[in-house]
Every structure is written in structure tokens, then in C-alpha cells.
Amino acid sequence: MFERLVQEAPQFFGYHNLVFIGQAMGRTLWMTLIGCGVGFVCGLFIAIIRQTQTRILMPVRLLVIVYVEFFRRIPFLVILFIVLFAIEPLIPGTSLLGIATVSVCLLSTAFLSEVIRSGLESVPRQQIEGAATLNFSFIQMMSMVILPQSWRVILPPAAAFIVMFIKDTSLASQLGVIELTFAGKMLVNRGFSPILGFGAILLCYFMLSYPLSRFAAYLEKRLESS
């Protein structure tokens, strides 16, 4: 087995393979960044809607609760299939990466909205009452009192979520998106040893994920103590 690895290694780590893996890593990173970026914005929006009290927004609140609860309770693989089969007839010719990106955003919005919501709710009730008696409007209270106080509760679990998320994108390989996992499969199909192929891919994921998970741990320590 060892001989095989040693024998294949020079060819495996050749220029073309490295570029190929690099591009795949780029797609993994793209899905993660777009997913978390969109997820954070939409998640924030959803979390804020859930904090409102007005009766007019009641149906909207109900809708987002159902959305969040549902998408947190189905496997990412199933989301991928649903989006695939829903988008194809609606917008024919959508790229596979596009479909995967939409799925990723749906998932991250649901999870990040919960992270943000618990951050918003961590701000003591008294701060809200204080703002209310000073005649703050809902938006003023959110932007001047609640959000500035909740980011330190939101950031550590959000970073931890992104770490989970990088790994979840590996399922997009099933659609045929050439991200890291699919690249690994292709390399192994081309005849490289699975240990080499998947080992290299694991290493790539590790390089993406490890610094971020250290950062998440650092944030948690740093923000909790103060």
C-alpha cells in the first residue's frame, strides 16, 4: 500500500491536479461564504421580525417560524433534492452550483436566524423597558440598544455554525457540483489511491475549517469573560 502511495504521489501532486483541487476548494469556499453571508442578512431579518409584537405582522411571524423550524429539521441532502426538482422546471438551465447555493442559503438562513434570535433575547428585558419608557421606537430600540449589546452573544455560535457549514457543503457533491468532495471522488475515479485522493481532500477541509474553529473558540473565551 505504501509503495503505491509513494509511487503515485509525484503525479498526484502535479500542477494540473493542484489547480483542479484549488478550484474545487474555491467552490466550497464560495458556497460557504455566500451561504453564510445571505444567511446572516436574512437570518437577522427573520430574527427581528420574530421580536415584533404588532398584530399586523402575526401571519408573517407564523410563516417565518414554520420556515425556520422546518428547515432546521430536514437533512441538507433532502433540501438539495427539493431545490433541484423545484428549480429545474421553474428556471430551466440553472447551474448546479446555483442550485447548491440556493439550498445552502435556505439552510443557513434557518440556522443563523436562531443563533441571532437567541442573541437578541439575551439582552435583559430591563434594557427594553428602559428604552420603552424613553419613547424609543422599535427600530430605534433594535439599532441603538439591542443589536449593539447582542453581537457578542451572536458571534461565537455564528462562527461555530460556519465551521459546521463548511462540512455540510460536502453534500453538494451529490448534485455534481465540483467542490472539494466531488473533486476527491473524481481523482479517485481517475485511478489515484483513495487514501491519497480523499486524504488530500480531508486535509483541504481541515485547512479551511481549523483556523475558523480556533477563531470561534477564541471569540467565545474573549467575549464571554468581559
Binding site: 429539521r73 433534492f81 460536502s170 481549523y210
Partner: protein, 224 residues
């Protein structure tokens, strides 16, 4: 663009799908308890172990929590035959998920162990409790309380994560959904129904766990 949903073809297969759901739960349970054994060992090693044990446990956790389970299982499934070990797909998936759970549960349990406050143990000692009594009445309840919520979240994650078994041809819930949809060509309907089954499955799991938590550990867990 017109599309009429037709769920009848899917509902006909409901018993078949529910059979898959049973396997899904089976995979999740097995990996959870397997992981719990590893997790206890890992947490003890990380909190009380010698330097070497601590290092090994840390490396294990860091590796498994920073790489995707899917690729780990690919490696298990395709690389082990090179050294003469042929794994059944289901076994490969369960082994892979168990190793993953072990890593996450190590972290969850460790957080529980270090959350026990010295002052409480001192108070118990001052009340003349024996070491066993302290463990039973002070330490374990405290750990149970801290780890309860992350533990039940993790179990839900595991139920959802077990769907990757479908990619290895295991006929659990997602696997059977793929089988059906290639036959009846009602893909959207099939996967929507399966999504609802997953949502119900995890809702029931969370609610049960929350009830158990309330009853056994007096954890203030939200049932829904």
C-alpha cells in the same frame, strides 16, 4: 408553467418510507450510543488524563470536528479494501458516524465536567457526604443539567446527518426516497413528504428528550 402536485403515488409508499425512517433512527441510535462510550473516555482523558492521553484525545476531536463526515466515510469505504478490509456500506456509515459522534460528545461531556463548581463539592464535603454521595447527588445531576440541551441538539443533528447513508446505497429514509422518486417520477412530492417525515421524526425526538429531561433531571427544557 403549470404543475399539478400528485401525492397519491407517494402516499401509497408510506409504509415503505416509514420502514426507512426506522432504519434512520436505528443508525442514529447506534452511532449515538457508540459515540457516547467514546465520548466518556475522551472527556475523562481530556480532563483527567496524562499528557499523552490528552494529546491523543485532542487530536481525535480536532480531526473529526474539522472534516466532513461524508469524506471520512468515503475514505473508510474506499480505502480500507486496499488493506483487505471490505466494509458493508451500512457498517461503514455507522462506524463513520460513531467516530464523529465520539468527537462531538467528547467536547459536550467535557464542557459538562468542567462546569461542576468546586464550591458545590466543598459544600457537600462540609456536609459530610461520602465521595459516592457527592458524585451521585452533586456532580452527576450538575453534569446532566449542563449537557442536556447540547446532547439533544446533537441527537437531532445525527438523525439528519444519517441521511448521507443514502449516498452509499443504504436504504434508510432518504435512500428509499431516492428509490421511489426514480420509479414514480414524482420527485418533488416524494422529497416533500420525506422532509415532513424527517421534521416530525426530529420533533418527536426533541419533545421526548425534553420530557425525559424534565422528568429525570428537572431540566427546564422547552418541549416544543
Amino acid at each position: 408553467m403549470e404543475y399539478t402536485f400528485q401525492f397519491a403515488a407517494v402516499f401509497r409508499e408510506l409504509p415503505y418510507l416509514l420502514g426507512g425512517a426506522a432504519l434512520t433512527l436505528g443508525i442514529a441510535f447506534t452511532s449515538f450510543w457508540g459515540g457516547a462510550v467514546i465520548g466518556v473516555l475522551g472527556a475523562v482523558a481530556k480532563v483527567n488524563g496524562k499528557r499523552v492521553a490528552r494529546r491523543i484525545a485532542s487530536a481525535y476531536v480536532v480531526f473529526f470536528t474539522n472534516t466532513p463526515a461524508l469524506v471520512q466515510i468515503f475514505l473508510l469505504y474506499y480505502a480500507l479494501p486496499d488493506v483487505g478490509i471490505l466494509l458493508d456500506p451500512l457498517v461503514a456509515v455507522v462506524v463513520g458516524l460513531t467516530l464523529n459522534s465520539g468527537a462531538y460528545l467528547t467536547e459536550i461531556l467535557r464542557a459538562g465536567v468542567i462546569s461542576v463548581r468546586r464550591s458545590e463539592i466543598e459544600a457537600a464535603t462540609a456536609l459530610n457526604m461520602s465521595r459516592f454521595q457527592i458524585l451521585l447527588y452533586v456532580i452527576l445531576p450538575h453534569i446532566a443539567k449542563t449537557i442536556y440541551a447540547p446532547l439533544s441538539n446533537f441527537f437531532v443533528w445525527l438523525v439528519l446527518g444519517s441521511s448521507l447513508a443514502a449516498l452509499f446505497g443504504v436504504e434508510e429514509l432518504t435512500g428509499r426516497a431516492i428509490n421511489i422518486s426514480t420509479e414514480n417520477l414524482r420527485s418533488i412530492e416524494t422529497f416533500l413528504v420525506v422532509a415532513v417525515i424527517y421534521a416530525l421524526l426530529t420533533l418527536i425526538a426533541s419533545a421526548t428528550l425534553a420530557l425525559v429531561g424534565r422528568w429525570a433531571f428537572r431540566v427546564d427544557a422547552k418541549v416544543l
